[in-house]
């Protein structure tokens, strides 16, 4: 248990720092690369929670596909590759206030509702086979809907982005 807690805090500290840099960095490419650190940290947290299939999917889809998509987006919109000082708009302090208030409310509520709740890993890990069984029995209809949604998003993205 102790080792899990230590690794949680180390990974969480790296994630919070990287997430802070994602939203404050003055360099667009660096923000995308800090996002990689956050996403890898999220995958590591999934492994700590014994959800190894989701962790692998996270690495494959987020780090493998979505970050590449972001880098292409940065390249194709000719965003300034170096530093630029105009990446933030003038609502900055209002945004700081809103997010701090939101975090205060969320932290207070979570502390009120779940303080002392412990995650116990009994009966072995939830295996990939269980996840697959669940997707193809209980959640079959949502699964099919998501595949149609992906197809629609693919067609929509091509229609939007092609030159005609």
């Amino acid at each position: 248990m102790q080792a899990q807690n230590i690794s949680f805090f180390v990974i969480a500290a790296a994630m919070v720092f990287a997430a802070f840099r994602v939203v404050t960095s003055t360099n667009v490419v660096r923000a995308a690369l800090y996002l990689v650190v956050v996403l890898a940290g999220v995958a590591a947290q999934y492994i700590l929670l014994a959800a190894e299939f989701t962790a692998v999917v996270q690495v494959l889809i987020y780090i493998g596909a979505i970050i590449v998509l972001f880098l292409f987006g940065i390249m194709l919109t000719r965003a300034p590759i170096g530093r630029s000082s105009d990446l933030d708009n003038d609502q900055r302090w209002l945004a700081v206030l809103v997010s701090l208030l939101l975090f205060g409310v969320l932290a207070w509520t979570l502390n009120d509702a779940f303080s002392g709740a412990k995650i116990r890993f009994t009966g072995g890990p939830q295996t990939t086979a269980q996840v697959g069984d669940s997707i193809f029995s209980t959640y079959l209809l949502p699964f099919e809907v998501v595949s149609v949604l992906l197809l629609a998003a693919l067609v929509g993205a091509i229609v939007l982005a092609r030159r005609d």
Binding site: F8, V22, V42, A50, V57, Q126
Partner: protein, 99 residues
């Protein structure tokens, strides 16, 4: 492990994502902040799944990942289209609906 650790980490990432969405000017950076928000939701789903000893949390997280992929695809296509039409992806300049 305490459930609250994961929930608070998710809340922190969520608030940073909200800050990014509100404060960023560049369309691609706004989409990155949206990714932070979606990931914080996924951490919560997986933590509650482990807490309740059910695979439902993982299944829902997988659905959210699939929808995030669709969202980024369409979102970046829209940003690309805005860039092509206006030569800039500053989201504060897109104010055609302002009265």
């Amino acid at each position: 492990m305490m459930l609250n650790y994961f929930l608070l980490l998710g809340a922190l990432l969520f608030c940073m994502g909200v800050y990014g969405v509100l404060a960023r000017r560049n369309g691609v950076l706004v989409l990155m902040a949206v990714e932070l928000i979606l990931n914080s939701v996924n951490i919560n789903l997986i933590a509650f799944g482990a807490f309740n000893h059910t695979v439902a949390g993982q299944v829902f997280a997988l659905f959210v990942i699939a929808i995030a992929a669709a969202e980024v695809g369409v979102g970046l296509a829209i940003v690309l289209l805005i860039y092509r039409n206006r030569r800039s992806i500053d989201v504060t300049e897109i104010d055609l609906m302002k009265g």
